[in-house]
Symmetry: C2
Subunit: 260 residues, 2 copies
């Protein structure tokens, strides 16, 4: 890449989250950054898009002087609006995060951070989601930002494999306690829900979604293993969801419609 | 399966949509049905979950006398709540739809209907999403309902391949004009966005997300090809998003962190 790359920066924790400022400041060295992020927290929004109400897009200045745009929609809306209404072309790179909290294994499905990166990849933009395994607002992003730079540098040099984005998770450790970067597969894991049932002042029931993360994958090639062993996990992610392994079994079933 | 199966029914168009009633009435013959669906339209919600506000769940009676539960959350929330707070166990089958409008190819990512089915599959429940290629509220669901019965009957007899759900799309044709059922892969396609820019009465700009669907996949084994040629498309879908094809290229890059 000869000219200065344009780097789109978004997240799902909202434009005021410290994580996106850490990412923006880490990316400044590589090119021209454009920040477009939700105007409110959008964690758990998955690949939601806003189709039943209109979207707002406003210029804002962040606490450290960075300029950006806040959008009333979801992380995926931010990427679509950035490409179509701010940049008027595809950026050279789309980075999302740094998320406050892990997006490893099955969380890739629920995560607005990763869905924004996936939307970038669908648009044909090399895209990466970054998440730090610490949910705190005042988490220390120093090591995460350095690993983001390392990974982005490689992607800017070598490009991204076709139809692929990266899901990068950084363990909540000081830089010198991190063992390095590992390319991994998504661990087989899920959330076991436990709804917290309460009563409002009018005695009507309501529920808070809570849950326990359960990893039932013992492979040493997974993102969960990497994170538990002090590595930064990098999972290549695709957006062709076809379960090719299931084709043969399905083709062997009888799909004739009965006469009615 | 010897005893009467329990069938969870949900959707993303909301509990008042005609499509979910068509599906519920089609499923009654196979077992005990339980309807849990959003209390408002949730199209395009993808795999969103509700974590920043509490959820409501209320019993309702539908126009044709069917009983169900309406939930204030997303389609994925509905599945989680149904399993945890209504059924208190996994149902034998989870069906989602019949969606008013296609969920073929890349739409699987944005669709609340398909995300509900995916959540069922993550929970280990055989799960299927059904969509009719007609967005109208008064669409004719007769052929779609019959194909839903055909497909569910096969799945109840033979089970579902591991870690797989089905994305079923039915062309908007009369029954005798449909050529049959085809097992397909997800077509490579995307939406080309065109934001409709307007001014509100206070002269502030706002945007409506619109777009044009673009299929750039010429394969005859795709869901788009099947639908265009009068077939019901059945795509097996997985929730391990790892891009295994990209592993080698990524492993060949240099992931050392520079000394700083």
């Amino acid at each position: 890449m000869n000219s200065k790359p344009t780097i789109l920066i978004t997240n799902d924790d909202g434009i005021t989250a410290p994580g996106i400022r850490a990412l923006a400041n880490a990316m400044k060295h590589f090119g021209d950054i454009v920040i477009v992020a939700p105007d409110s927290p959008q964690s758990g929004m998955g690949h939601a898009i806003t189709i039943n109400k209109p979207l707002r897009l406003d210029k804002v200045t962040l606490p450290d002087g960075l300029e950006g745009y806040q959008c009333s929609g979801t992380p995926v809306d931010c990427v679509k609006l950035a490409v179509n209404k701010i940049l008027h072309r595809k950026p050279d790179l789309c980075v999302s995060g740094i998320n406050h909290g892990s997006n490893s294994s099955i969380n890739v499905i629920y995560s607005g951070t990763m869905s924004a990166a996936m939307e970038g990849a669908i648009e044909g933009i090399p895209s990466i989601g970054f998440s730090l395994c610490n949910y705190a607002l005042d988490a220390d992003f120093e090591a995460a930002a350095l690993f983001a730079q390392t990974i982005v540098w490689q992607v800017l040099q070598h490009g991204m494999p076709n139809n692929t984005l990266l899901n990068v998770n950084i363990p909540d450790l000081k830089l010198d306690a991190i063992n390095g970067i590992k390319i991994c597969r998504q661990a087989k894991a899920k959330w076991v829900e436990e709804f917290d049932e309460r009563q409002d002042p009018s005695k009507r029931k309501y529920y808070w979604l809570t849950g326990k993360f359960e990893n039932f994958d013992h492979g040493q090639d997974t993102d969960e293993w990497a994170l538990a062993n002090g590595y930064v996990s990098v999972v290549p992610v695709q957006f062709d969801f076809t379960a090719h392994h299931a084709m043969a079994a399905l083709n062997s079933m009888n799909w004739d419609v009965p006469n009615v």
